[in-house]
Point group: C2
Chain length 194, copies 2
DNA sequence: ATTTTGATGGTATGGTTGTACCACAAAAAC
DNA sequence: GTTTTTGTGGTACAACCATACCATCAAAAT
């Protein structure tokens, strides 16, 4: 064989090119050619590493949720070794509000994937529901630990929905990220003791 | 001239066909041909009444927001002649949670338009922000009238975001419409007196 | 009665897209 | 040293899309 190339690295490089391209022009505008150009490789190579466009999109979706998860974990680590429950809750929720460009891009693409999954059977399935479900349970546990009154699960559902909705409104330019964070923090002040 | 046809009626007919087509396969899958087939007319006619696809999409977006507004007004009328503020608030918020098929379709297409507007300059602009802004102000006024404590505007923002987020999660199949409505009502119980 | 003109159908065209196919070089395996 | 195998490029192809163009027919205007 020739260059003995690291397949996973190549795939990651191409998938990241897709995410960049989708961030700029929207996921719907992504084409094999645009990805190839953005990655600086030939179209043939994209085909080589991801036989079909559907597989490429699938891989990009997986990588997107992975990287969004990484951002949350980084935020949690930044909160210190044994952070207060309230800080953990805030960190998780505020990650849904896009501030920097990367976050904006991720949430835009993620939302595009989400609506696509409603009509496209190839994208459908529990792939999209697993992460939010897990986060919801995690959040409910932290809320209970923080001494929330009433049904912690229900509070978690409300908070997740609110942060998602606020994030989308920021994405659409209806509101600033600061305003959204303010609304979120104010609600936390209300439901959490202390 | 021949059939002396009502232009507005024809346009509405075609636009509704687009909405039906988009509800089934997604807005991204809408094409001049699919719209023509769904409307039962020739492609040439679609061209005739909406010169370009962009104009067709624009008209469909306008009609969509109109029809979504009509649904809210219908719900408000159903609440009686002089409904209690709480009922008005509930009516407005619950309309964001898709229950019947039409509501599902409308919210799906609306969300697709919204994410499109982020990257597509042709769809962009305040066309998308006007309605929510107006509804936010309306909601804030009703909340104040219902005797909410604290900043009514901030409560309105939170509620709108929560209902949008809940609606999306219902659309994605993460939660039932009943569960979403339950979460919403519970929060209203908390912030409203009585 | 003839000439516009509004409404409609059909079809051609230029561009794009995803994918299949062909070629080839270079390193590994034998 | 020959033969696989792996990575890569280029290109061809069939499908599809939006749109432009050509034709027609009937009613209205003259």
């Amino acid at each position: 064989m020739p260059k003995l190339v690291d397949h996973e690295e190549r795939r990651a490089h191409i998938v990241d090119a897709l995410l960049r391209s989708a961030a700029a022009d929207g996921l719907h505008a992504v084409t094999m050619r645009s990805v190839a150009v953005e990655a600086g490789v030939s179209v043939r190579l994209v085909q080589y590493y991801f036989d079909t466009k559907e597989q490429l999109l699938l891989a990009a979706m997986t990588r997107l949720t992975t990287r969004m998860g990484e951002r949350i974990h980084r935020r949690l680590r930044a909160a210190g070794a044994s952070p207060a429950p309230r800080d953990v809750i805030e960190a998780v929720l505020l990650e849904a509000v896009p501030t920097d460009g990367e976050s904006r891009a991720f949430h835009l693409i993620h939302t595009e994937y989400a609506v696509l999954s409603v009509t496209d059977p190839a994208l459908a399935g529990p792939a999209f529901l697993a992460a939010p479900d897990e986060m919801e349970a995690f959040l409910a546990a932290r809320l209970a630990a923080a001494g929330v009154t009433g049904d912690a699960r229900r509070e978690a559902v409300l908070l997740m929905a609110a942060s998602a909705g606020l994030g989308l409104s920021v994405l659409l330019g209806q509101r600033t990220a600061d305003d959204a964070a303010d609304v979120l923090r104010h609600h936390l002040d209300r439901i959490l003791p202390g």
